[in-house]
């Protein structure tokens, strides 16, 4: 491309022939170029250079090279010009960064300065040919950016450090003043406490960030999170959208950017970066950061996955090591894969010694064949009979000692096929306790049998003297009744009464001790006819009283016991009712749990609430022996009969006595068809 005759070329000084030739050369050059006078000022610059440095035509006239340089490179430019124009070096090259005059963008340029001498050989001018290195340098910069970042990421210990390192690198290479990481946590974005900044005054901005959290679509980070795209606010002052504007402004922030880091599972983090006024407006910054963020997502995700795995392994390790039980695993050939400290204590082998050896090491010899058969079957069928079960086996300690163990086996498909985990518990103590319990049970059975014998003996041996006593009393009365007189006969009667009472006591004691121990097979007993028969007897003996029998179920139990239960209860009602026109009602109803509640209630004098529990005790009577007959054991026997059936008995009722009997569903066979009439026996 030729540039001859272009208006843009200016001449400040008419110079020598050499100067003119030089100017013509520069003007015609396609590449950026210019001519410098002896003092280093630009005499003429071609269009290409003006374009490179972003100035209008003639805009470079009079400028020096150092004044165009990016400040850090100023001295470099100065030195090059001095070497050529002052020190007479024929050629000098300088690579540096230059600032485009209006946009203040940076461009990379390689300046090739050539000295033009006058006729006497003195330096007269310099011709500068400029190569635009911006693209090359930028890609090199980018390469270093990525290199540096991946180095930091490689050194990072955690996914969190990866993000922190990324923020640091991004700030450094894109000249952001501050960067921080937002992490999704339970539906909101929260600001991570680690952050990066270059310079001062950002603490308050970070503190303000840590205090807030953003829902999806809220705030700059939340918006980036929602859209999954990088966002930029060019000037945080111009917009009400930036809620932390005060803190940001105090820190000198102009631009804010939010860049989502996206992995396969969605957004894993949002990077938020801030640029100060001085650095603001650099084009392409957001795109560069976005490119980095794209690379970051999978990295963070992978690191998180390995962290989660490590954590779960650590937890597993911690749990297995803390366990008292032995926790071991083996492959499908029966070789041990893991061995925890519980196993070390239990079997006496350390993990180093035993991992890799066959399981048979801890199995007593007599079970090994069985075990090997099992392993062979597992390999053949791919499943284990024992998996998911708890079995009791024997374990073999290193010292050869055997002990009972409880083993639960789990299986899973590992990388090398079916594998097993086993939790083994030393049940020596439990076995001992079980044996002790069985021994105690045998002892109890023996004691019960002894008691039975004792009861039999008592029934015979205690009764025998009473037979004699009463027999002699009878003959005393027959033979000497006349001479004893009325008072003597009264004494005889009292003696006889007391002996009969004592006999009754013994009889009831025996009954009580024998409830539930008679070994009678429980059968279905229809309570209604049973209770009706008792009620009829009671009615016959007490003509003034009324006995009603309502709905009653069929229950499973000992008919003798059940008869005694209702006999005792009706007898109690008659005996303690305290009125000749007593009404006794026996009925029952179902309970929601399938059991049954039976009620024997009367309209008698009742039992005071404070005595309602006491009357179920042995030998408990509310009155003395002289005021009413009965031994005081009737209700104790009732309670025992009901408890043998698994039920309960208690007394209720504000008026009269209401004895409630609960029987569980297990003994309630069925209810007969509903009967409308309540049986009345008189």
């Amino acid at each position: 491309m030729r540039t001859n005759g272009r208006q843009s070329t200016r001449r400040w000084r008419r110079g020598t022939a050499g100067a003119l030739r030089s100017e013509a050369l520069v003007e015609e050059a396609a590449a950026p170029a210019c001519v410098l006078d002896r003092s280093g000022r630009i005499i003429v610059a071609n269009h290409a250079l003006e374009q490179l440095l972003g100035v209008a035509a003639g805009g470079l006239g009079g400028r020096t090279l150092p004044s165009l340089a990016y400040p850090p490179d100023e001295e470099l430019a100065n030195a090059a010009v001095r070497q050529v124009l002052s020190e007479g070096l024929d050629r000098c090259q300088v690579e540096g960064r230059w600032v485009r005059v209006f946009s203040r963008e940076l461009v990379w340029g390689g300046w090739d300065l050539s000295l033009v001498r006058d006729r006497r050989g003195r330096p007269e001018l310099a011709i500068a040919m400029v190569r635009d290195l911006t693209d090359m340098k930028r890609s090199e910069h980018e390469r270093r950016f990525f290199q540096f970042m991946f180095k930091l990421i490689g050194e990072a210990d955690s996914s969190h450090q990866v993000l922190t390192a990324a923020v640091q690198t991004i700030c450094h290479f894109t000249r952001c003043a501050m960067g921080q990481v937002w992490l999704p946590a339970g539906g909101v974005l929260v600001c991570s406490p680690t952050w990066y900044c270059s310079g001062y005054g950002f603490e308050k901005l970070h503190a303000a960030s840590v205090q807030v959290s953003y829902k999806l679509g809220q705030g700059l980070p939340g918006l980036a999170w929602a859209k999954g795209q990088p966002l930029q606010l060019d000037d945080i002052r111009d917009t009400g959208r930036f809620d932390r504007a005060v803190a940001a402004q105090r820190a000198g922030v102009r631009e804010a950017m939010a860049v989502p880091v996206t992995g396969a599972e969605g957004v894993v983090a949002v990077l938020e970066l801030f640029v100060t006024h001085e650095r603001a407006g650099e084009p392409g910054r957001l795109e560069r950061i976005a490119r980095v963020a794209e690379e970051l997502g999978p990295l963070v995700e992978r690191r998180r996955a390995s962290e989660a795995l490590a954590a779960s392994q650590e937890r597993f390790q911690a749990v297995t090591e803390a366990a008292v039980d032995a926790i071991v695993s083996a492959d499908s050939s029966g070789r041990l894969l893991t061995w925890n400290s519980g196993a070390e204590r239990m079997f006496g082998w350390t993990a180093e010694e035993i991992v890799g050896r066959p399981l048979t090491v801890i199995i007593p010899a007599r079970f090994r064949e069985l075990h090997n058969d099992g392993i062979a079957r597992v390999r053949r069928t791919g499943t284990s009979k024992l998996a998911g079960q708890v079995v009791e086996l024997a374990g073999l300690r290193r010292d050869g000692g055997e002990f009972p163990i409880e083993l639960s086996i789990g299986s899973w498909n590992g990388p090398e096929g079916l594998a097993f985990s086993g939790v083994l518990r030393d049940i020596t103590e439990r076995k001992r306790a079980e044996a002790a319990l069985a021994g105690a049970n045998r002892e109890l059975e023996r004691a019960n049998a002894e008691l039975e014998t004792l009861v039999y003996s008592a029934s015979h041996d205690l009764k025998s003297p009473m037979v004699s006593l009463l027999g002699y009393l009878e003959y005393l009365r027959l033979d000497y009744g006349d001479v004893l007189g009325p008072e003597g006969n009264h004494y005889l009667n009292r003696m006889a009464d007391s002996t009969v009472y004592m006999q009754q006591l013994i009889h009831d004691l025996i009954d009580l001790s024998r409830v539930g121990r008679t070994g009678v097979e429980p059968i279905a007993v229809d309570l209604r006819p049973l209770v009706r028969a008792i009620a009829e007897d009671a009615g016959a003996a007490n003509p003034g009283m009324e006995f009603r029998v309502g709905r009653l179920p069929v229950v499973t139990g000992d008919p003798v016991g059940l008869r005694q239960l209702f006999t005792n209860l009706l007898e109690n009602a008659v005996r303690h009712g305290g009125r000749p026109d007593l009404v006794v009602v026996v009925d029952g109803h179902e309970r929601p749990d399938g059991g049954v509640e039976l009620s024997v209630r009367d309209n008698g004098q009742g039992i005071p609430a404070e005595h309602r529990e006491r009357v179920f005790g042995v030998f408990e009577r509310l009155e003395g022996p002289s005021t009413s007959d009965g031994t005081g054991m009737g209700l104790a026997i009732c309670r025992k009969i009901v408890e043998v059936l698994g039920g309960g008995i208690g007394i209720q009722g504000d008026r009269g006595t209401d004895v409630r009997i609960f029987l569980p569903a297990a003994v309630t066979a069925r209810w007969p068809a509903q009967e409308l009439t309540a049986g009345v026996a008189r």
Partner: protein, 138 residues
């Protein structure tokens, strides 16, 4: 007057006295009571009685709980013995256990009576018992 020969197998002297007394008071029946204080002696007496037909007991009243040989063993031996198989044996005991009653009847007892503690009833039951068996055996 009818007569009844009874062998009373009973270790308790008081009971022996009371039973004897009840039987002695009968108006229409002459009861002779021989007493064996335990099972072994009872069996000896019955073995000897084979050779003296006139002295053979017509009824045995047998207590269950006795020293040396108890009532059930006596029953077992008697029922195993061809000659004594037809001899009526009434078990008269203090035991109220249903099991004892069943067991005694299973072993061949002719009847089972639980000694009543009421003196009057004891007396009358013994007397009725004797009257009944006197009618049956003579």
């Amino acid at each position: 007057m009818r007569t009844l020969r009874i062998l009373l197998v009973e270790d308790d002297d008081d009971h022996v006295f009371l039973i004897r007394r009840a039987l002695a008071d009968l108006d229409d029946l002459a009861v002779s009571v021989e007493v064996a204080p335990d099972g072994e002696r009872a069996l000896e007496r019955l073995a000897r009685a084979r050779f003296e037909p006139g002295g053979r007991p017509q009824l045995v009243l047998l207590d269950l709980k006795m020293p040396r040989m108890d009532g059930l063993d006596v029953l077992r031996h008697l029922r195993a013995d061809e000659a004594a198989r037809g001899l009526p044996v009434v078990v008269l005991t203090s035991s109220e256990r249903q099991e004892d009653r069943e067991e005694a009847l299973r072993h061949g007892a002719s009847w089972f009576v639980c000694k009543p503690t009421d003196g009057r009833r004891l007396r009358s039951e013994i007397q009725q018992l004797a009257g009944h068996w006197a009618r049956v055996t003579t």
